[in-house]
Amino acid sequence: MLSVFCSGEVVCEPPNNKLDRFSGTLYWKESKFPLSNQNMLLRGCVLRNTEWCFGLVVFAGPDTKLMQNSGRTKFKRTSIDRLMNTLVLWIFGFLVCMGVILAIGNAIWEHEVGMRFQAYLPWDEAVDSAFFSGFLSFWSYIIILNTVVPISLYVSVEVIRLGHSYFINWDKKMFCMKKRTPAEARTTTLNEELGQVEYVFSDKTGTLTQNIMVFNKCSISGRSYGDVLDVLGHKAELGQKPEPVDFSFNPLADNKFLFWDPTLLEAVKMGDPHTHEFFRLLSLCHTVMSEEKNEGELYYKAQSPDEGALVTAARNFGFVFRSRTPKTITVHEMGTAVTYQLLAILDFNNIRKRMSVIVRNPEGRIRLYCKGADTILLDRLHPCTQELLSTTTDHLNEYAGEGLRTLVLAYKDLDEEYYGEWAQRRLRASLARDSREDRLASVYEEVESNMVLLGATAIEDKLQQGVPETIALLTLANIKIWVLTGDKQETAVNIGYSCKMLTDDMTEVFVVTGHTVLEVREELRKAREKMLDSPHAVGNGFTCSEKRSAKLTSVLEAVAGEYALVINGHSLAHALEADMELEFLETACACKAVICCRVTPLQKAQVVELVKKHKKAVTLAIGDGANDVSMIKTAHIGVGISGQEGIQAVLASDYSFSQFKFLQRLLLVHGRWSYLRMCKFLCYFFYKNFAFTMVHFWFGFFCGFSAQTVYDQYFITLYNIVYTSLPVLAMGVFDQDVPEQRSMEYPKLYEPGQLNLLFNKREFFICIAQGIYTSVLMFFIPYGVFAEATRDDGTQLADYQSFAVTVATSLVIVVSVQIGLDTGYWTAINHFFIWGSLAIYFAILFAMHSNGLFDMFPNQFRFVGNAQNTLAQPTVWLTITLTTVVCIMPVVAFRFLKLSLKPDLSDTVRYTQLVRKKQKAQHRCLRRVGRTSSRRSGYAFSHQEGFGELIMSGKNMRLSSLALASFTTRSSSSWIESLRRKKSDSAGSPSGGADKPLKG
């Protein structure tokens, strides 16, 4: 068969990223077949109900549409990295300046003094003029002073980052027990940027939600079921759940289904007709396919997880959907099999927001069962049920307030005559050539009226553990969270509410759904106007007048009311165009929460790119699937949720863990610490190198600018490698300003990172200034002392070698004391390194100046006997002490005053009480569940059109299943699960991927 195919040829378009289009031609045996998107299967598709098929791979690997959507991999660097590079360049410039100054000094000196000094020290033969000598001295000084350009800085930074990455890998609190996956830092270059994140872009399915739908509550003829009740009948608090309802009476029940309210089962068992009708509807009105591997082992293959949940609920309450054929549905109602004749499926679509089935029961009665959005369905009810309607509406509001997805159920009896006539009309409409859809819709509309309300269902889209808490905490940390999802608007909004991104306290939620550029622009403009006009807009006089002077963006950011923006994929496409992107960004950034729904993978990346480009803020993208890869790659930091579906997201990510809630720990604990440590490290590193090197500069003025170093060359070599490297590394790896619990308790502690306060150009100059100040004292105090003094035996004190040892010793002591001050968290390791460094310094000093080494290499170890002779002098120690005191005291005083006058949140101890009070208020806000008003529908249904038709045609049913005979055991439920997930995440055109589900 394949060999026959080999003679064929496919001519098609080049690889592109358009998921909904394909054009090509197949040439085979002199005939041409057009190939369209209908003939394509995209990468990641799963074939359903098909034993085998022949196919031809058109695009493979990176050419596939999915991979074309994933964007380019960019090299990621942190902002501190970039700043560091700039600073190193500046330092290099500074080095050249110093070199020039000293070279000029040398030329002048040689001209004025050196020339006369030639009897004692003639110029080198090559040097014929003072100018040339200055030129040579320039290069000598570049070499001597090059220690200001810290080469070891880069190595140390990498070591510290590696350490931080290991801490992330080792963190037990980011280890998922259920999936047994630890958090993983897949890159070691971005750690400190985790402490500066301002925008988090999150995928929804699999990241915020588990993609598990649970039948949570229902309202049947005015009575609400599903509240978790304790023994006394009060609403139980969380954590004291009673036993779940026992479904053992029903042999076909699904063990995994849990329900907590026994009254519902009682109602079913009592034979309450409404309840029975309610579950009958659920077991009939759907497009689920069933599969029975063995007798009694039912598996449902649902096109959307919502439906699966509803049908499973009905199954457990004794209305077991057993099997279907194109024309019948068999249901086990309380143990007895009933076969309904399926007359019509009025399929679901996004405009209708409802679906109905018309069935004839064994008694011959025809009934229409309908489920759909409350907004739609409540208008189509029979007017006689007013009272029931109002109670049900109350229940619906309650459910919506809890973030549950609601559907309203209703039925209508049809008489035979009417149905016959209606069926005729429907047939006509379906055969119509033009505007078939519209005609069908109006025919459906007609029959779905005057229905009788049965009740409502509330399905919980199970969030991942701890999602609302995490989002609340991150919001408090001033991190803005945008949800970018391929899901439908209702679903996304619903999740927005259930994870507390959207609340009913919000002043307004703007929904942008325009299809044209103009519409979108108008909607965005209106949103902005509303934000500016609202009475909340004026925060307080001070901020307002301050911000007014700035441009519009900041005016919008000063908006006081809480707003949210929901934007659809097709509107987003316009909003992301070059002329509108700024408007969009302005509007979106003024909102507390932004939800983009039905977006393609590429759009996700574009949104991230937009924020990255214009906001100069650090962005983080978090997602779990292949559709998030492009966004993960684009954002400054990409986080992959591991252990879900596939590993593409994890492979493209920089960090991965298995629960969204770990994000708070990654950012607020690891990120914050990383940033803090890195900043402290950098400040100290620049400081110590400047303090070390600038001494040469001052000495230049006293040694005829002859490029004589102050220190012994061994000291120069070892200073950065041995004497001062480990303490600062230990600080960079282990330092903590507040314990981890505090940084979760006070999310505001995260702000300095976002504002880039701890290490910026200003801080850099302060460090440099401190380094230079230290170097001045380090040189001039010993100079002042040595110039006149003598040793206690009368001999000269001010010999070069003693001076070198004194300056070096006081330098090592001063920088060690300084690192001691900088180290906020003295672990045993810090102690070991700091004291060890000092000990090593003296050990090496004495070893280098020992007689033994001199005897072996008299020309290499010229400082023989220096250490013991110099360091035995009280004057030397008094000098070292004075230098240390003068260098350190101002730092201590400055820090103390800053602590008293302008304390950081992190070093506030006496403010704790005050902050606690605030914190309590915030917690109260967090706990507030539910809502007071009823402005919102809880309807959300991740269903897609086209399945009804498919079922009625019987195309998707195997022969075996049609015959209701034996079921094959080959197919397992696992692929159904993965299909479900892909399905609900599908972002293609509303009807596009019905039979070709694709995670897009």
């Binding site: 003094v113 009897a119 047994r180 630890p182 000269q796 005053l897």
Partner: protein, 344 residues
């Protein structure tokens, strides 16, 4: 099954303090009491040390006589290098109004002489000076070999430029015949220099040991004739030579020349009276616009120190006290305000 559970347990991070960043640690806290008491203590310490240092520096008796201009004719003579063989002496009388108690040290002091130039400091050969390899003149450029290629001993710019004035202090008791003040030329170097860093080549006769080498160009006599009376002070072991070879850190420096031998009239130190320096002027300084002087000084426990250290300590102490008082004021003021703030 067993294996998988073992594998997954491996994945579980160790619950150690290090890996969970829970190492027990001391948190450095700049508490008000700590900082303020630290500042007060430092202030007290600095003021105390400063006052002690100032007092001890005041107790030092020191007299310095610049003789470049006083011996102007000699200075002029030495400006021309061709006059090297002409001797020039110069006598400088002075009156010591107070007795210099205790040990008295005599220094020569040079102004504007750069012993700390890069090429100058390097220009020596330690392996030659330690006596192991007389011919090793590797670093000594431009004074490594004479014109005929003989290695110079001691080689290098430092050795070549040795201070070669002779200074003799005389005491005019009763304005009659001056008495030469007894001076010790030993004990003016570090022990390690004299016994480790500098060694004569081992030989019975010093002059034969130095055979095959030549004297530095500016020297009047070879190294083995520096002190022919005392073999322990001859050759590389000559104390004046060793003192010179320990290069100074700054262009102005004083080096120990002699110390008072406290015998006869001088057991208590130098009594007040008329003295004079008899200087054999050899070392030219006017060529590089330098100056030289001779210094007599006593010592205290910390050596002969200047006022600088004492003053610096006193100032630091005073500033620290001022700072601690103002910090305390700020602290107390803010404390009140903060209490108010919290109460609101």
């Amino acid at each position: 099954m067993k294996r998988t559970s073992k594998d997954s347990r491996c994945k579980l991070p160790d619950n150690t303090a290090l890996k969970q960043q829970q190492l027990p640690a001391y948190q450095l806290q700049l508490s008000a009491t700590g900082v303020l008491s630290g500042f007060f203590a430092t202030g007290v310490f600095c003021l105390g040390v400063g006052i002690i240092l100032i007092l001890s520096a005041k107790s030092i008796k020191e007299i310095e006589i610049k003789y470049t201009e006083i011996c102007g004719n000699c200075a002029k003579l030495r400006e021309d290098a061709t006059n090297f063989d002409k001797e020039c002496t110069c006598s400088i009388p002075f009156y010591l109004s107070e007795t210099m108690q205790g040990n008295v040290y005599m220094y020569y002091k040079l102004y504007g002489f750069y012993q700390n130039l890069y090429h100058y400091i390097l220009s020596r050969s330690n392996s030659q000076l330690v006596g192991t390899d007389l011919k090793d003149v590797g670093n000594c450029a431009p004074f490594s070999k004479s014109h005929d290629g003989t290695p110079i001993a001691p080689c290098g710019a430092i050795a070549n430029s040795i201070f070669n004035d002779t200074i003799i202090l005389s005491y005019n008791l009763n304005s009659s015949i001056p008495i030469k003040v007894p001076m010790l030329r030993s004990g003016i170097t570090w022990w390690t220099d004299k016994y480790v860093k500098f060694q004569n080549p081992s030989s019975i006769n010093l002059s034969s040991a130095f055979a095959g080498t030549t004297k530095p160009p500016s020297w009047a006599k070879p190294v083995y004739e520096l002190d022919e009376e005392d073999p322990g002070n001859n050759g590389f072991l000559n104390d004046d030579f060793i003192v010179w070879m320990r290069t100074a850190a700054f262009p102005t420096f004083k080096k120990l020349y002699r110390r008072l031998n406290r015998i006869q009239y001088f057991t208590e130190g130098l009594p007040a009276g008329n003295y004079s320096f008899n200087i054999t002027y050899n070392f030219p300084v006017t060529r590089f616009r330098g100056e030289k002087s001779v210094v007599l000084s006593t010592l205290t426990w910390s050596g002969g120190s200047s006022l600088f250290l004492g003053l610096a300590y006193t100032v630091t102490g005073a500033v620290t006290w001022l700072a601690s008082f103002s910090m305390m004021a700020v602290h107390l003021l803010l404390k009140d305000r903060k209490m108010l703030f919290i109460q609101q």
